[in-house]
C-alpha cells in the first residue's frame, strides 16, 4: 500500500477508535466545517420574526460535524439568541440553518426551505444549482466556500459583506 494511503487509513481508523472512546475526536475537516457553520451564523441576519429565542442549526443525517458543532455552540449566545444543534432525518420547520453533508440528498431539504428564511449549507458540486445558499468547496487541501447571493435574497437573508468578500462566486452566477 502507498504510504499516503496507509497514513490516511491509519489516521481514519485512529480517529474512529478515538471517537469511540472520546467524544471530541473528530477529524479536522469536520471540526473546520463546524467552526465555519458557527461563524456563518454570526454573519447572517434573519428577517424580523424569523427567529425565536434561539437559532437552531440542523444537520441532515448522521455526520461527525454535529458532535463538533455541539462542543462549539455550548452556552453560546449570538445577538441575544441561544444556539442549538439538532440532527434531523427529514426537513423540519424549526431549523434556521440546515447543513446537508456530502452523501445526503439535498433536493428534499432545499425544496422545503425554498423562500423560507433558512440558511442552507451543503458540500456537493450541484448544491448551488439546486438552490442552496452556501456550498463548501475543497481547494488544495483548504476548506473554502461559495455563496449564491440570489438564493440568499430569495430566502430574505442578509449576508454580511465581510462573509461575501471571502466567498467565491459560484460558476453559474458569474456566467449569467
Amino acid at each position: 500500500m502507498a504510504p499516503g494511503v496507509r497514513n490516511a487509513v491509519i489516521a481514519v481508523s485512529m480517529s474512529v477508535a478515538a471517537a469511540a472512546t472520546q467524544a471530541q475526536e473528530q477529524p479536522l475537516e469536520y471540526q473546520v466545517q463546524a467552526a465555519y457553520l458557527y461563524n456563518f451564523v454570526k454573519f447572517v441576519d434573519w428577517p424580523d420574526g424569523a427567529l425565536g429565542g434561539s437559532i437552531t442549526i440542523c444537520t441532515a443525517g448522521n455526520t461527525p460535524v454535529t458532535a463538533a458543532l455541539e462542543q462549539i455552540v455550548r452556552d453560546e449566545v449570538i445577538n441575544g439568541h441561544r444556539l442549538a444543534v439538532r440532527t434531523i432525518e427529514a426537513p423540519q420547520a424549526t431549523c434556521n440553518v440546515v447543513f446537508v453533508p456530502h452523501g445526503m440528498a439535498a433536493s428534499e431539504y432545499l425544496r422545503s426551505a425554498r423562500t423560507a428564511p433558512v440558511l442552507t449549507v451543503g458540500e456537493s458540486p450541484d448544491f448551488i444549482e439546486q438552490g442552496g445558499i452556501i456550498n463548501f468547496v475543497r481547494d488544495a487541501g483548504m476548506m473554502r466556500f461559495e455563496i449564491d447571493q440570489e438564493a440568499a435574497r430569495r430566502a430574505r437573508l442578509q449576508i454580511s459583506s465581510r462573509l461575501l468578500r471571502l466567498a467565491r462566486t459560484p460558476a453559474r452566477a458569474v456566467q449569467q
Binding site: N7, S15, Q24, Q31, A35, K42, S161, R162, L164
Partner: protein, 632 residues
C-alpha cells in the same frame, strides 16, 4: 520560481495564518473565517503542521493583516513582518532589511512576487516604489530571515521576501476603492474578476499620488510621486491535468525632483506558470517570465533592462524523503545612458545567472526528527560559479519545535561593482568598478525554538550569527593621488542577534502580535585593506526593533486596529531612534461599502527614518487618510 514551490511547501507542512495550534473544535472557534480558510484539512495528523513547525525563521503577513494595517505601499506592508527593518530615505526609496545591512541601496534580500524576482540586477536592491500592486490582491507576504540560498533564487543572503498574490478564483466581482489624505492626496483602485469558460480572471487598475515630504527644516522636499499600475491575471486547469497561471502588469510613475525636471519609471512584466502532478507523490512545475523596465533620472542616469527567466523543478515524496530538485536560467540585457556624473563601462551588457539545486528532507524519526540537506550551484557572468550548501534539522512535538541551520550564501557581483564610473565635476574618475570584484560571502548559523504554552498563545525565538567576508569596500589607490577609488572586497563583518515574537488570540475577534529584535552588526577590514569608508558605508542598523499590533472586532460593523513601532538609533550617520503609532477605524456602512479612517506616524509632526537630522535631508510626516471601499 521557487516561490511557488515554497508556497506549496508552506501549505503542505506549514499552515500560514493560524499561528496557534488548533487542538479541537473549541480552539477552532477562536479562529476567524480568514484563518479557517488557511487550514489544511487533508493532513492525516490531528494537529495540522502549522507555521510553528518550519525549520526556519519565518513570519507571514496575511492579506487581512495588510488590510487591517491600512497601509498604502508594499514596503509598509512588508514592515509588518517580524524582524524586518524598514526605513524611508525619500518619497520613493526604502531600505528594507532583515538582520542588518540597512542602506539606501540595501542589497542582501531576495524579493519576489509570485516567484518573479524583482530586485534590480543593476545593484541587487529593490525599487520598492515600482511595486505598486493593489494591496487588496495580495494573499500573503512570507518573510524568511537568514539565507535561504539552497531552495530560493539568487541573492537570498540575509532574507527572502516572497509576495504571493491571490488566485483570480478568489477575486471575482467588482472592487473599488478611493482614498484621500495629506500624504496620499488621491488614490483610486478598481478591480473586476470573473470566469471565462473553465478559467478565471481579474483585471485591475490603480492610481496613487503621494505628496512631497519635508526637509528637516520644514521646507517641502519637492518629491511628489504620481504612480499608476494596470494588470491582469488568469488561472485555470487543475493539478491532475495541469494547472496554469498567466499574469501581466504595467507600471508607470512620474517622480518629481526638487532640482531638475521630473524623472520617470516604466516597467512591464509578463509571467506564466504551469504545474502538474506527475504521480500522486510527484509534482512538476515550469515557470517563465519576461520583464522590461526603463528608469530615467534626468542629468544622472537612464537605464533600460530586459530580463528573461525560465525555471523548472520537481518535488517528490518518497518513503521518509521529501525531495526537490530543479534549475533555472536567467538572462539580463541592459543599456545605460550615463552622465558626466555617473556611467557604466561598458554602457550596454548582457549577462546571465543560471543555477541547479537539489534538496532532501529526511524523516530520521517520522513526526519527530527531520534533517534537511541541500546544495545549489549558481553561475553568474561576473564571478563565475558558487556552491551554496545548507543543512537544517528540526525536532517537533505536539507543542514545541526546536530547529537549527547552517548555510552558506553569496551576493553575486553586479554592474554596480564591476562597471561603475563616478566622475568629479572636473572630469577626473572618482570611483571605478572592478572586474575582479568577487561575490560577497555569508556563513549563517541559526537556532530557533517555538512553543505554544496554551491554546491561544504562540511564542517564537531565534538566535543567529552571520559571518561575512569579501564585503564590498571602497579601496584607495596605492599611489599618492587619492583617486580613483576602486570597488573592492576588503571588508568583513558579523551580524548577530535575537529575534522574539508572540501571538496572542484569546478570541476570534481579538488578536495581538508583538515582536522584538536585538541586532549587533559590526564590520572590520582585512589586514591589507585600503578601504576609506571606515567600515560605515555598507550598513547602518539599529540595535533594537520593537513592534506591537492589536486588532479588535468591536462589533459586526466596527473594527479597531492599533500599531506601535520603536526603532533604535542608527550609528553612522547618526539618526535618532524613534517610536511611532498608527491607528485605524473600519466601519461597514452598508452591505457593500466600507469606510476606514487611518492615522499613520501619529506621535510626531515629522520624523527622520534613515537620514541625519540636517538641512537637505527628508523627514516623514504625520498622516491621516480616509478610504472608501465598495464590493459587488
Amino acid at each position: 520560481m521557487r516561490a511557488r514551490l515554497i508556497s506549496f511547501a508552506l501549505i503542505v507542512f506549514l499552515v500560514p495564518a493560524p499561528r496557534a495550534f488548533a487542538q479541537g473544535p473549541q480552539d477552532l472557534k477562536r479562529l476567524s473565517i480568514e484563518q479557517l480558510m488557511q487550514i489544511d484539512v487533508t493532513l492525516a495528523t490531528r494537529t495540522p503542521e502549522p507555521l510553528a513547525r518550519a525549520p526556519t525563521a519565518i513570519s507571514i503577513v496575511t492579506g487581512d493583516d495588510i488590510r487591517r494595517a491600512g497601509v498604502t505601499t508594499l514596503a509598509d506592508a512588508v514592515a509588518l513582518a517580524d524582524g524586518v527593518h524598514v526605513a524611508r530615505f525619500n518619497n520613493g526609496t526604502w531600505s528594507v532589511t532583515a538582520r542588518g545591512f540597512a542602506a539606501v541601496a540595501a542589497n542582501k534580500m531576495l524579493v519576489m512576487i509570485d516567484g518573479r524576482t524583482v530586485y534590480s540586477p543593476l545593484f541587487t536592491g529593490v525599487f520598492w516604489n515600482a511595486l505598486d500592486y493593489e494591496l487588496e490582491d495580495i494573499d500573503r507576504i512570507e518573510v524568511v530571515r537568514g539565507p535561504g540560498a539552497t531552495l530560493w533564487g539568487a541573492n537570498a543572503v540575509n532574507g527572502v521576501v516572497n509576495i504571493v498574490t491571490k488566485n483570480s478564483r478568489d477575486t471575482s466581482g467588482l472592487f473599488m476603492q478611493v482614498g484621500t489624505g495629506n500624504e496620499d492626496p488621491g488614490d483610486a483602485e478598481v478591480r473586476y474578476g470573473g470566469r471565462a469558460g473553465s478559467a478565471t480572471y481579474r483585471t485591475y487598475a490603480k492610481f496613487i499620488e503621494r505628496a512631497s515630504q519635508r526637509y528637516s527644516t520644514g521646507i517641502s522636499a519637492g518629491d511628489r510621486r504620481r504612480r499608476g499600475q494596470v494588470g491582469a491575471r488568469f488561472d485555470g486547469g487543475d493539478q491532475s491535468r495541469g494547472a496554469w497561471m498567466l499574469k501581466g502588469d504595467l507600471f508607470h510613475s512620474a517622480d518629481a525632483l526638487p532640482d531638475r525636471p521630473s524623472g520617470e519609471f516604466t516597467l512591464g512584466d509578463l509571467q506564466a506558470v504551469w504545474s502538474r502532478a506527475l504521480t500522486p507523490r510527484s509534482q512538476l512545475q515550469v515557470s517563465s517570465y519576461l520583464n522590461h523596465e526603463r528608469r530615467r533620472i534626468p542629468l544622472q542616469l537612464t537605464h533600460r533592462l530586459t530580463t528573461v527567466d525560465l525555471d523548472a523543478q520537481q518535488s517528490m515524496t518518497l518513503p521518509r524523503h521529501a525531495l526537490v530538485w530543479g534549475g533555472g536560467a536567467r538572462v539580463n540585457r541592459d543599456r545605460t545612458e550615463g552622465s558626466a556624473l555617473i556611467s557604466f563601462d561598458p554602457a550596454d551588457r548582457t549577462y546571465s545567472v543560471n543555477n541547479l539545486f537539489v534538496q532532501d528532507e529526511i524523516a530520521v524519526r517520522p513526526r519527530s526528527v527531520y534533517v534537511t540537506g541541500g546544495i545549489k550551484y549558481e553561475h553568474n557572468a561576473f564571478s563565475g560559479g558558487e556552491w551554496q550548501p545548507n543543512v537544517r534539522a528540526r525536532w517537533v512535538s505536539q507543542r514545541q519545535t526546536l530547529w537549527g541551520s547552517i548555510a552558506r550564501a553569496v551576493r553575486r557581483p553586479t554592474r554596480f561593482e564591476d562597471d561603475i564610473i563616478v566622475r568629479l565635476p572636473t572630469g577626473a574618475v572618482a570611483v571605478q568598478g572592478n572586474d575582479d570584484f568577487r561575490a560577497e560571502n555569508v556563513v549563517a548559523s541559526e537556532v530557533g525554538y517555538r512553543m505554544q504554552p496554551s491554546m491561544f498563545v504562540a511564542l517564537d525565538a531565534t538566535v543567529f550569527n552571520h559571518s561575512y567576508d569579501r564585503l564590498r569596500s571602497q579601496d584607495a589607490p596605492s599611489g599618492p593621488v587619492p583617486i580613483p577609488i576602486l570597488v573592492g572586497n576588503s571588508l568583513n563583518g558579523r551580524s548577530r542577534g535575537v529575534e522574539l515574537a508572540a501571538n496572542v488570540q484569546p478570541l476570534s475577534a481579538w488578536r495581538t502580535h508583538v515582536s522584538y529584535t536585538f541586532l549587533d552588526v559590526s564590520l572590520t577590514r582585512d589586514a591589507d585593506s585600503r578601504d576609506i569608508g571606515g567600515t560605515t558605508t555598507e550598513a547602518n542598523d539599529p540595535r533594537h526593533l520593537f513592534a506591537f499590533r492589536t486588532s479588535l472586532d468591536v462589533s459586526q460593523r466596527m473594527e479597531l486596529d492599533f500599531r506601535w513601532r520603536s526603532i533604535g538609533a542608527l550609528p553612522h550617520p547618526h539618526v535618532p531612534g524613534y517610536s511611532e503609532a498608527a491607528a485605524r477605524i473600519g466601519w461597514r456602512a452598508t452591505q457593500h461599502v466600507d469606510v476606514a479612517l487611518i492615522g499613520e506616524d501619529l506621535l510626531h509632526a515629522q520624523h527622520p527614518e534613515f537620514n541625519p537630522v540636517a538641512a537637505g535631508f527628508e523627514e516623514f510626516q504625520r498622516s491621516v487618510r480616509v478610504a472608501l471601499t465598495a464590493r459587488f
